[in-house]
Structure formats: structure tokens, C-alpha cells
């Protein structure tokens, strides 16, 4: 993490997916791409042009996309199916549950345009419940990459993983915080920021909003020693890392561009309540739908800006001594 946010490159997590899919086209002849009339915006277009015989168009039919993908995986292909997260895994949730998760077939579900940052399209297109929908399904792995580079690695890792995987992507360009060299392993959290002193609060963040968590940690550099951890895999959750740092810090803040109910915060709370109850603050969407606006406006309005995260960190620490 650079000390100056302005020098971070901005890139689309969608591009990381598209880049990896193209490479998989070359390296793995079993990989096929399924699309529901959104080839350009889900970044399947390059794959479609280079491997037309392995690109399968469904039209605006996300339920059928899930069932056809299930059939392809059942036969032995490695299908990546992409749409906007509100439609997939939103609209086709039952098809995913029965024909992919219960069947335990290795379909890779890519939900793009997740979170409020979709912006002007408004609430209908802002998926704020997709993590919850996917993490309650047995056999499903849930990955929420923080940037373009991590989306690239997550896509490659998903193809190599035998079971079903959900990958959550954003619409907007977001800061690239990781590098080629940053390790990525499904289910293994990454430490992104560690204060010089023993941590008093640990922040678990997922997706591009990790950047705001890092900005908050930087803002509090001389006030509150903080550890910021990237939880790119929400399921299976890296419970060892979460418990280790929660015990050490004694206070936790979770950060996600998703409903508070059922997302990363809930997943972390489930682990902590069972093994190490500590004070917790949840940064995310508080049981409301979004609306049209610029991404930054929306993040500010719904309480996920660096200042909100910093306030949550201070509050979590204060509760320890209350």
C-alpha cells in the first residue's frame, strides 16, 4: 500500500476476470464461457472473439444460463457464467441452489456490477445481497476480489478449484492495491496494513472497499494502531487468521459494500461469537436499497467512506474500555 493514494493505478475488477478467462481459453480447452447478453460489460468479449466455439450465448435468460452451465459441468466442462450480480445469482438463485450447489458441479458464477458503486443505474442494478445468497449454499466457495489483479488470480484459482465458485466483481474502476507478487490462495486472508504498535482494532474488509479501510487506517496512523486484513474469500472463511487477530486486538470492524445482514460482517460475527466474542462494528449497507448517483456520493451517503470506517474503528476501541 502506497502512502499516497493518488499514485495507485485504477482498473476494473471485470478486466482482471476477462484477462484470466482469455488465458484459460489458451491453457484449458475445457473452459467454456456462458453469457446472458452482456459480453462486453462482463468482459467476455475477448474470449468470445478468440474462442467463438467455446462461447455460449443464452440471451437474457439467467435461469437457463445456470441450468445449461450445470449440464455442461455435469458433462465435464468448466463453465464460467457471467451476468450482473442482481440477475445471477439474484434471479436464478434456485437454479444455482438445486442444479449447481446441491449437485456439487464446478460451475464458476461471475456476478459483475455488485455493490452501490454501480452508480447511476440505481437500486435495481445494485446487488447488495449476493454474498449472503451464495454463502448460505453448501459446497459453494465465495470470493470477493479487492482489485483487478486479485480478480485475475481469483479467476484462475476458481478454474482450478473442482467445486462451484462465486466471484463478485464491481462495475467501476477501483484502486489496484495488490501486485503480481501478492499471494492469493482461496480461503487464505491477506494482511494489508499493520501498525507499528500492538493492534487495538482489527479491520476485516472485502472487495474494492478495502481501499477505504486502508485510508481509514492511514488517517488513524498516530491515533489508533490498526491491522487491516483483506478477506477476499468469504467462504471458506479464514477463521484461524480472523481469530488470531481478533484475540490480539480485542475489537473488530468489518467493511463491505453489501447489506450488513448476511455478508462478510455476519460471517465474521458467526466465527467470533462461537470462539472469541469481542466488540464489533459493521460498516456496510444498513438494510436499505441504494439509488442513482455517482459511486463516491453513494458510498458517502450510505456510510462507507474512510471517515465512517475511522469512526467505526474509534467506536470499537472505545467500547473495549466502556
Amino acid at each position: 500500500m502506497s502512502n499516497n493514494k493518488n499514485i495507485l493505478k485504477l482498473a476494473y475488477t471485470r478486466d482482471g476476470f476477462g484477462r484470466a478467462l482469455l488465458e484459460l481459453g489458451e491453457s484449458n480447452p475445457n473452459v467454456v464461457a456462458l453469457c446472458a447478453d452482456l459480453a462486453e460489460s462482463t468482459r467476455m468479449l475477448a474470449f468470445k472473439e478468440k474462442y467463438p466455439e467455446r462461447y455460449i450465448e443464452l440471451g437474457v435468460a439467467e435461469q437457463n444460463m445456470a441450468t445449461v452451465a450445470s449440464g455442461l459441468a455435469n458433462y465435464g466442462k468448466i463453465p464460467f457464467m457471467a451476468s450482473y450480480a442482481t440477475f445471477s445469482p439474484g434471479r436464478n438463485n434456485e437454479q444455482i441452489r438445486t442444479t449447481i450447489s446441491l449437485n456439487n458441479l464446478g460451475v464458476k458464477i461471475v456476478g459483475s456490477h455488485a455493490g452501490l458503486s454501480v452508480g447511476p443505474d440505481g437500486a435495481t442494478h445494485q446487488a447488495l445481497e449476493d454474498i449472503a445468497l451464495m454463502r448460505v449454499q453448501p459446497n459453494m466457495t465465495v470470493i470477493s476480489p479487492c482489485d483487478e489483479e486479485e480478480a485475475y488470480k481469483a479467476t484462475l484459482a476458481a478454474a482450478a478449484h473442482p467445486g462451484p465458485v462465486y466471484i463478485r466483481l464491481a462495475r467501476e474502476k477501483t484502486p489496484v492495491m495488490t501486485t503480481k507478487e501478492t499471494a492469493f490462495e482461496i480461503g487464505k486472508a491477506n494482511i494489508m496494513w499493520e501498525a507499528d504498535h500492538a493492534p487495538e482494532v482489527v479491520v476485516f474488509a472485502t472487495g474494492p472497499l478495502l481501499h477505504n479501510a486502508l485510508l481509514a487506517a492511514k488517517e488513524l496512523e498516530h491515533a489508533v494502531p490498526v491491522v487491516v486484513i483483506n478477506i477476499h474469500t468469504i467462504k471458506p472463511l479464514d477463521a484461524d487468521t480472523i481469530l488470531k487477530y481478533a484475540k490480539e486486538a480485542g475489537a473488530v470492524v468489518t467493511v463491505e459494500e453489501h447489506q450488513i445482514a448476511g455478508g462478510l460482517g455476519s460471517a465474521v460475527a458467526e466465527v467470533l461469537a462461537a470462539h472469541c466474542p469481542v466488540h464489533m462494528e459493521f460498516v456496510g449497507v444498513q438494510d436499505s436499497f441504494g439509488q442513482s448517483g455517482e459511486p463516491k456520493e453513494l458510498i458517502d451517503y450510505y456510510g462507507m467512506a474512510p471517515s465512517h470506517i475511522a469512526a467505526a474503528i474509534r467506536k470499537a476501541r472505545a467500547r473495549k474500555s466502556a
Binding site: V32, E53, R54, I56, L58, G59, A61, Q63, N64, A66, T67, V68, A69, S70, G71, L72, A73, N74, Y75, G76, K77, P79, E94, Q95, T98, T99, L102, N103, N104
Partner: protein, 284 residues
């Protein structure tokens, strides 16, 4: 050409499957009766003649794939599989019991030879289409069959899949609709009219055949015709009698989702055994 002797054997298997269905349902105490009895002839024709399969090697790569979309009629599939030698017939009595491989609705991972998991209606044709699409990409020679109910023609996913299969000319796919005219709430044409089903599928790019689903040679010849259609997937509209073989419940939609009690089962079995005797003597 199929011999009369072979047809008789298949008819007898269908009656044996019906008996097993009644025994399973009475032991389970819940489940569906009309659909499984109505589809017994088609399942017998598939498991004892049409399917290229090996009950002792259910994962054989070259096998034909039979995807059951309307999972609630699975007792007929379990019974057909057991009679074909996939597992002991006695195991049928574990239907819907704790720990059984024979779940109330079928699960692929629990029973070898069960090609997919189904129950929620409308999702089988898409799965079969994806399977057929993948197989065609690799030049695999096996055929993919999808059995559906008529009630699940209400579901949007069915038509999304019909459009996809037609557009992609999946000629290695043959679908069969159990056109028995009943669903839970009543007659299909009262609940949500489906007709003209033939014209609808034809408009979606399918070749459509209509048969009496209780006529073994008609079933076999329709499937053979479907293999000869190279440009389209084929739909076999099988006109079936719900509850077929047990006169007192035939055509009665109330038997869609209930099972016989012990007294009813005894009557049903007696009638089915009489039918079996009749088939035996007719052909002798």
C-alpha cells in the same frame, strides 16, 4: 425391428415396475402416485430397450444420459433402475427414509446412475441442453434424453431452455413430455392452459412427435425417428393416463401428490397382477 416377444417382455417389466411403485409408496407413506404409474411404460421401454447403458457400470462414459426434470415422479425411475439391475429391488422400500440413497426427490450424488438432481420444476431441459451441447462440442456419440411433466411447461425456465435447444439445433437431445393433463391444482388446461403444445415447440425449432405413451412399439419407434432428425432437437409428446394400470385412480388429479394406504395398495396390487397375467396369456 422389435419382436413381439421383446414387446411382451417390456410390457411385463412395466407391470413389475408399477407393482414396485405401489409397494414403495405405501412403505414411504408420502410421495406421488399418478405420474410414476403413468410413466411406467416409457421407463420400461427406455431401461429395457432404448438406453445404451450398463447397470453394473453406471459411470460408463459412452452411456446415454437420461435426465429426469420432474423429480417428483422418481419412484418410477428407482423401480426401473432396480429392475434393470442397478441395485437390489428390496432397496426400493427405503424410499424417502432416513439414510436412504432413494431420496424423495432424486440426487445425483447419492445414487450412481442418477444423472442429475431435480425436483424444483422447469430446470431439467436446460441441464439436458447444456449436457447435449457439451457432448456435441467433443463429438461424443451418446444421446441425451430429458423427461418432463406437462405441469412444468408452466415454468419460464422450460421455455428459455426450449428456445436455447432449438436455436442450437441440439439434435442429440430428445425430450419427452408426460402429457397426462393433470397437475396439483387440477387439470392443466384449467390451471394454466398449455395448448397448443405441439405448435409451441415447433415454433421454437423442435421436431415434434405425438404418441400413445402406453404403446411400447410407438415409444420405441418415436425414439428411433428422433435419432434420424439431424437438424433439430425432438420432442415426444407422450399422451399418458395418470395412474395408468389402476382403474380407480386413472385420470384423477387428486392422485397426483398422495399415496395409497395399505387397503388401497392391496387392491391396486391385485389389479396390477391381474394385468400382468393378462399380458402373459395374451402373448402366449
Amino acid at each position: 425391428m422389435i419382436t413381439q416377444q421383446k414387446i411382451k417382455e417390456i410390457e411385463l417389466q412395466a407391470e413389475a415396475i408399477r407393482e414396485t411403485i405401489v409397494q414403495m409408496l405405501v412403505a414411504a407413506g408420502s410421495g406421488h402416485t399418478a405420474g410414476p404409474l403413468g410413466m411406467a411404460d416409457i421407463f420400461a421401454a427406455f431401461y429395457f430397450y432404448i438406453l445404451n447403458h450398463d447397470p453394473k457400470n453406471p459411470q460408463w462414459q459412452e452411456r446415454d444420459r437420461l435426465m429426469l426434470s420432474n423429480g417428483h415422479i422418481v419412484p418410477v425411475r428407482y423401480a426401473a433402475m432396480a429392475h434393470a439391475g442397478y441395485f437390489p429391488i428390496e432397496e426400493c422400500l427405503t424410499l424417502r427414509k432416513f439414510g436412504s440413497r432413494l431420496q424423495g426427490h432424486p440426487e445425483r450424488l447419492r445414487l450412481p446412475g442418477m444423472e442429475t438432481t431435480s425436483g424444483p420444476l422447469g430446470s431439467g431441459l436446460g441441464q439436458a441442453s447444456g449436457y447435449a451441447y457439451g457432448a456435441r462440442m467433443d463429438g461424443s456419440k451418446f444421446r441425451v434424453y430429458c423427461f418432463m411433466s406437462d405441469g412444468e411447461q408452466d415454468a419460464g425456465n422450460t421455455w428459455e431452455a426450449a428456445m436455447f435447444a432449438g436455436a442450437n439445433k441440439l439434435s442429440n437431445l430428445t425430450a419427452v413430455i408426460d402429457r397426462n393433463n393433470i397437475q396439483i391444482n387440477g387439470m392443466t388446461e384449467d390451471v394454466m392452459p398449455l395448448e397448443n403444445l405441439r405448435a409451441k415447440y415447433e415454433a421454437f425449432g423442435w421436431h415434434v412427435l405425438e404418441i400413445d405413451g402406453h404403446n411400447i412399439s410407438a415409444i420405441i419407434s418415436a425414439v428411433e425417428q428422433a435419432k434420424a432428425i439431424y437438424e433439430k432437437p425432438t420432442l415426444i409428446l407422450a399422451h399418458n393416463i395418470p395412474g395408468k394400470g389402476v382403474k380407480e385412480i386413472e385420470f384423477d388429479y387428486r392422485w397426483h401428490g398422495k399415496t395409497p394406504n395399505k387397503e388401497e395398495a392391496a387392491r391396486f396390487l391385485a389389479e396390477l397382477r391381474t394385468m400382468k397375467g393378462k399380458i402373459q396369456s395374451e402373448h402366449e
